[in-house]
């Protein structure tokens, strides 16, 4: 895991090394200050030598300025290194997600991926910054101060050897005990959020069933649980400050007691006593920060693991071996194809499918939800790979094509489609980057989108908000179809892409397809019989198998499932839009 993450430091190795170097230099300088101070007291003040006081004072001032410089530089380099590290992490993750296959994407949930790219990266950025600066500063400070304390007076310094394990052990113990409780607190917080979210989403249901009081009880239970758990975690942490204080005070008293004895005996100077007290401060404070780092690192461990998961995911789709870029025509053939999303033979969602489609044909696909209609067509542009059997396009195995060429020639309008923030024209140009205005208008006319686009004040420059929230469902679908048409593909697949379009517009789209793009193979998945009954042939899917493949009239006579669907829709009109 660490190796994977470390590789993201990349070009930021220099600041990553300079930051700890400077911080350690700062420590050395800081540790010298109390010692020189005691020198002022013993040799300057005690002996009444003003020149020495001033001389050492100036030296000290110089050291402080130097230490300030080192500290600032270390801060600067740590900022550069951690921001760069975060940038590389994000970049590497985003790029590898772009290279994912559909089945790779399915493995991670969308919100999960978003969290990894945002919150988790921010966590690691913070931790990294902490590690290369404070994680070096604390032990350095501890070791240097301790050495100086021994240098000043080794007998008194023994006190530290006794107190460091007590404080360090105590702090770590508290942190390790508190951490699991905090984990539980966060889990309960998630539950609280869930209750609120479900309540917000289902507000109409809550109100319709008059369940406000019930919901309030539900919330209060979780709320109380958070109160209890959070309090008990904080109660543990509340030992931190007193523990720190006790150790500090004990050190002071012991140093004062033994120090006085030594001074009176002439084995130590007054200045030495003052510097030892300063070292007490530095030693104990560095222990305190150490336990804080420990906590932060434990928390960000989970983030690091989640990020590594994405970075180690290997994309399982690749360009075809032959890397053919030319697709001859839009003919399609399935030869004994089986497919399952989790690659297991037991839960096949397509079973031994064989059929062939001629170039330029219009094919309808119909079947109940879950009958694997979408799975079937997704194999053509290799969104997924078949487990066994071959899918042929233009007479060649789809696996032989260059992936980009294949997907450019097989244009698919997905069921769950998305527009991106930007103008309508920008969205359309996803289909063809250098599309002219005429080409765009033509595609939109085919998709029956031109009219409504022109009704917007900014026409093709109308801004689409994130997720296409400012256009209706039917308009969005038509824009997606236009976008797919712009590719000028050999095969066009519409996966339930006109479900929110009213019947009349739907039929206009179909007739314009028939007139204007007769050479493109068109595969249309639909719920409505009316959307596909004019297709050349219709595939009826049932539980991952082809129940029939024939024109409308023939199916009505021979296929029970088709007839049932037809009859159930005979009396139906969609008044949508």
């Amino acid at each position: 895991m660490l190796k994977k993450l470390a590789s993201c430091i990349g070009e930021y190795k220099r600041p990553s090394i300079l930051a700890p170097l400077f911080v350690m230099l700062e420590c050395v300088l800081e540790v010298l200050i109390p010692w020189l101070m005691s020198y002022i007291i013993d040799h300057g003040i005690e002996k009444g030598d003003i020149r020495l006081v001033v001389a050492i004072g100036i030296l000290l001032t110089f050291l402080v300025v130097l230490s300030m410089f080192c500290g600032a530089m270390s801060g600067r380099y740590a900022a550069i290194a951690s921001a760069g590290f975060a940038k590389n992490l994000r970049k590497k993750m985003f790029h590898s997600v772009q290279d994912f296959s559909f089945s790779n994407i399915d493995k991670f949930s969308t919100p999960g991926l978003v969290t990894r790219l945002t919150t988790d990266v921010a966590n690691l950025q913070n931790s990294y910054q902490m590690v290369i600066r404070i994680a070096f500063r604390c032990p350095a400070m501890l070791i240097f101060s301790l050495s100086m304390a021994f240098f000043v007076n080794s007998r008194v310094a023994l006190i530290f050897l006794a107190i460091i394990p007590v404080l360090g052990g105590g702090l770590i113990l508290i942190a390790t005990k508190a951490h699991p409780i905090f984990e539980k607190v966060f889990k309960t917080y998630d539950r609280l959020n869930r209750v609120v979210r479900e309540n917000l989403r289902g507000m109409r249901v809550v109100k319709a069933f008059v369940r406000e009081a019930f919901e309030e009880e539900k919330f209060k239970t979780v709320s109380k649980e958070i109160y209890d758990k959070f309090s008990s975690a904080e109660r543990l942490l509340s030992f931190n400050a007193p523990l720190m204080q006790s150790c500090m005070y004990i050190c002071m008293l012991l140093i004062a007691w033994f120090g006085s004895k030594l001074i009176v005996a002439g084995d130590m100077t007054q200045g030495n006593l003052v510097s030892l007290i300063s070292y007490t401060n530095q030693i104990l404070m560095s222990l305190m920060s150490f336990s804080m780092i420990f906590v932060t690192l434990t928390i960000s461990k989970a983030s690091a693991e989640r990020i590594t998961e994405v970075l180690s995911e290997v994309s399982d789709l690749s360009d075809g071996k032959e890397n053919i870029c030319e697709v001859k025509d839009g003919s399609i053939e399935f030869k004994d194809v089986s497919f399952s999303y989790n690659k297991s033979k037991n839960s096949l969602c397509l079973k031994n499918i064989s059929f062939s489609i001629n170039s330029g044909e219009t094919i309808g696909i119909i079947g109940a939800t879950g009958s694997a209609k979408s799975s079937l067509v997704q194999l053509i542009p290799r969104l997924y790979d078949a487990c066994s059997g071959t899918v042929l396009l233009g007479g060649r195995d789809v696996k032989e094509y260059n992936l980009k060429a294949l997907r450019d020639n097989v244009s698919m309008v997905l069921q769950k489609n998305e527009l991106f923030s930007g103008t309508i024209a920008e969205n359309l140009r996803w289909g063809k980057e250098d599309a002219t205005e005429e080409e765009m208008i033509h595609a939109c006319q085919l998709a029956q989108a031109d009219d409504f686009i022109n009704s917007f004040p900014d026409k093709y420059n109308t801004h689409i908000e994130q997720g296409g929230k400012n256009v209706s469902g039917g308009q969005k679908q038509r824009l997606c179809i236009a976008r797919a048409l712009l590719k000028n593909p050999k095969v066009l697949i519409l996966d339930d892409s006109t479900s929110a379009v009213d019947t009349q517009t739907d039929s206009l789209i179909r007739s314009s397809f028939a007139k204007e793009i007769p050479n493109i193979t068109k595969i249309i998945i639909a719920q409505r019989i009316s959307s596909i009954q004019h297709a050349d042939r219709i595939i009826v899917m049932e539980n991952g198998e082809i129940s029939a493949f024939a024109p409308h009239e023939e199916l009505l006579e021979t296929n029970r499932i088709y007839r049932e669907i037809y009859e159930s829709q005979q009396r139906e009109v969609i008044g949508n839009e």
Partner: protein, 633 residues
């Protein structure tokens, strides 16, 4: 320790700092007055102990060591006593620190819990229109981000600030009483420290805003592209996405570096200014001592070195706390905003009671009889009872969600008990709006709605809604078992009644096929169930409530036609013997309705039963035959 959070929120300043603060304080002082008094005392003890400790070095050196060196005495017993006495003081200090930390936990968590509970309770009372205008994310963040900053402020910032103030005051007193010239040196340096920190934070806040902005940009880009990742792939747009992302990412890195450099150098600069103060003190003190200024001894210099540390630390702490206090107050303001929203009005005085009918006379009973009655208080203190039967009448109703735009124009509908009323028409014709008015989710602008002859504005809203059952297109199941979800319709239903409702809704079969049957836990609104199965559960949930009036709003429109047949059976048995309002765009669902209303643009343009409307050859006729029109092209 606080939960790791990704994007820091841009610190928004509260609009009314003073008002929010005083309100928050009244929240805290309201229930925790004694706690806070104790905290105050303990903080004072703890701070004073700290200051006393800093002075101890001086006491040891000046009062014991120097005299012993001078006199050559070797009697350590007075020093031992002094150490013992100090030990006593220290113990009191440590105990006080422990106690005030403990008490603050009770106060902090308690206040937070009170605020949380108040907020949720208030949210339940808000009218639906509030949720139309406020995004869920915005409301959610009040429970998470805002509440969290508030907790940190109460448990950390407030006691810290408080103890800082006390420490600063007592150190200042101690310093002045020890040596005025040295105090002046300390004050000069402190002024310098404050100036520098203000300069740096002032400059960095601009960079932080820039960082937040580009972080928002990057995160938005990530969210959009990950959500549409499959589209990106279908259009082979990966390389373009990478290039666009790299540009944004690079910019973020630049801004993050700028912001963090300043933030990072602040600490070492402040720390080293502290050292500088240390050095200057030693120099000044040394020179003064050598020059023989009275009252400056080695002990005093040593004490000052310690004191100056206890002085600068709380000051730089405080300047850091101020920012988080301001942020927390902004959060508190947003929380109070929600708490202050005006709640949905309670409705009228007519309530729904269980009743029994003896010899044609209704009387209130405590047991469920299947008969319900509207109980209306009369002026003489007695009540009149009207049997709940499901007679609904809308009279010349006008309505708009906003005053500018009327969506329903002069709507009149009457439904006799047991009738099935269908509303058809295009999206936006106002069908759902009518059901929103029946449930009194919104108030009508003009006209009247009567329910069993009673104006619904006279009926208590909760009781009105209890008499209406709803099945919506969006099912909204809750996390919990299947059993709990069905029981949501009637909380006191027995298991047996739940099974029966499920059977009625045609859901029993598939529920028993689930891994744990009725005890299967549904996650995130029924993940893993098909749309049709979720809908069946929603129907069972409505069935168990057994209301006399049902509203079915597009309940089957997102189900494919074959699945719909199964759901339809459940619906049909649910509709038996009730007044039903059905909204559907599949005409097959509503063909057998008693009355069909065809709506367009917020008006009813046709009404009548199927045969009548077909015979009229109007809009309904063209809708009904429309699908076949398209095929003739």
């Amino acid at each position: 320790m606080s939960r790791p959070r990704g994007a820091m929120h841009i610190s928004k300043r509260p609009k009314d700092t003073k008002g929010t603060l005083s309100r928050l304080l009244s929240y805290i002082f309201g229930s925790y007055r004694l706690h806070l008094a104790a905290v105050l005392i303990f903080i004072i003890i703890s701070s004073v102990t700290g200051v006393r400790g800093s002075m101890f070095v001086r006491t040891v050196l000046d009062n014991y060591v120097t005299p012993m060196l001078k006199t050559g005495s070797r009697d350590f017993s007075p020093l031992f006593l002094a150490v013992l006495q100090m030990l006593g003081i220290y113990v009191a200090g440590v105990l006080s620190t422990f106690l005030y930390n403990r008490i603050m936990i009770i106060v902090g968590q308690g206040v937070l819990r009170d605020i949380r509970d108040d907020m949720f309770a208030k949210m339940q009372k808000l009218p639906l229109s509030y949720f139309d205008t406020h995004s869920h994310g915005d409301t959610m963040s009040r429970y998470t981000n805002d509440a969290d900053t508030l907790r940190q402020m109460i448990t950390q910032s407030i006691p810290h600030t408080f103890s800082s103030v006390i420490t600063i005051i007592s150190v200042l007193v101690a310093m002045i009483s020890t040596s005025i010239p040295l105090t002046l040196v300390v004050l000069c340096i402190v002024a310098l420290i404050l100036l520098v920190s203000k300069k740096i934070t002032g400059r960095s806040s601009g960079f932080f805003v820039a960082q937040q902005k580009s972080l928002g940009g990057v995160n938005g880009f990530i969210e959009e592209h990950i959500n549409g990742q499959k589209v990106v792939k279908v259009f082979c747009h990966e390389e373009k996405a990478k290039a666009d992302f790299d540009k944004l990412n690079e910019e973020l890195c630049q801004n993050a570096t700028n912001a963090n450099v300043l933030a990072n150098i602040l600490m070492p600069i402040m720390g080293n200014l502290g050292h500088l103060q240390y050095v200057l003190l030693a120099m000044a003190g040394g020179i003064l001592a050598i020059l023989g200024v009275p009252g400056i001894t080695v002990g005093i210099i040593a004490a000052f070195l310690q004191l100056s540390r206890s002085f600068t630390m709380p000051i730089s702490h405080m300047s850091q706390q101020i920012n988080s206090i301001i942020m927390a107050l902004a959060g508190a303001e947003r929380i109070f905003e929600l708490v202050d929203e005006s709640p949905e009005t309670y409705g009228g005085t007519v309530s729904l009671v269980k009743a029994d009918e003896v010899d044609g006379k209704l009387s209130e009973v405590s047991k469920r009889t299947g008969i319900w009655a509207w109980k209306k208080p009369l002026e003489d203190g007695t009540y009149s009872y009207t049997r709940l039967s499901g007679d609904v009448l809308l009279e010349n109703v006008n309505f708009g969600y906003t005053p500018e735009k009327t969506v329903l124009h002069d709507i009149s509908i009457f439904a006799k008990p047991g009738q099935k009323i269908a509303l058809v028409g295009a999206t936006g014709a106002g069908k759902t709006t009518i059901t929103n008015l029946l449930t009194h989710f919104y108030d009508i602008n003009d006209g009247k709605i009567f329910y069993d002859g009673i104006n619904i504005s006279d009926i208590k809203k909760s009781d009105l809604r209890m008499s209406l059952g709803m099945v919506l297109q969006d099912t909204h199941l809750f996390t919990g078992t299947v059993m709990e979800n069905i029981r949501y319709g009637r909380l006191d239903a027995t298991d047996e009644e739940v099974y029966e409702a499920a059977r009625l809704a045609n859901a029993d079969g598939f529920i028993r096929m689930l891994s744990d049957g009725y005890n299967t836990v549904l996650k995130s609104g029924g993940e893993g169930l098909s749309q049709g199965q979720r809908q069946l559960l929603a129907i069972a949930r409505a069935a168990i409530a057994d209301p006399p009036v049902m509203i079915l709003d597009e309940a089957t429109s997102s189900i494919d036609t074959r699945t719909e047949r199964i759901v339809q059976k459940g619906m049909d048995s649910l509709m038996q013997g009730r007044t039903v309002f059905v909204i559907a765009h599949r005409l097959s669902t509503i063909q057998n309705s008693d009355v069909i209303m065809v709506m367009d643009g917020g008006k009813i343009i046709e009404r009548g039963d199927h045969d009548k409307l077909i015979a009229e050859r109007g809009r309904y006729y063209s809708l009904y035959t429309g699908s076949f029109d398209a095929d003739e092209e």
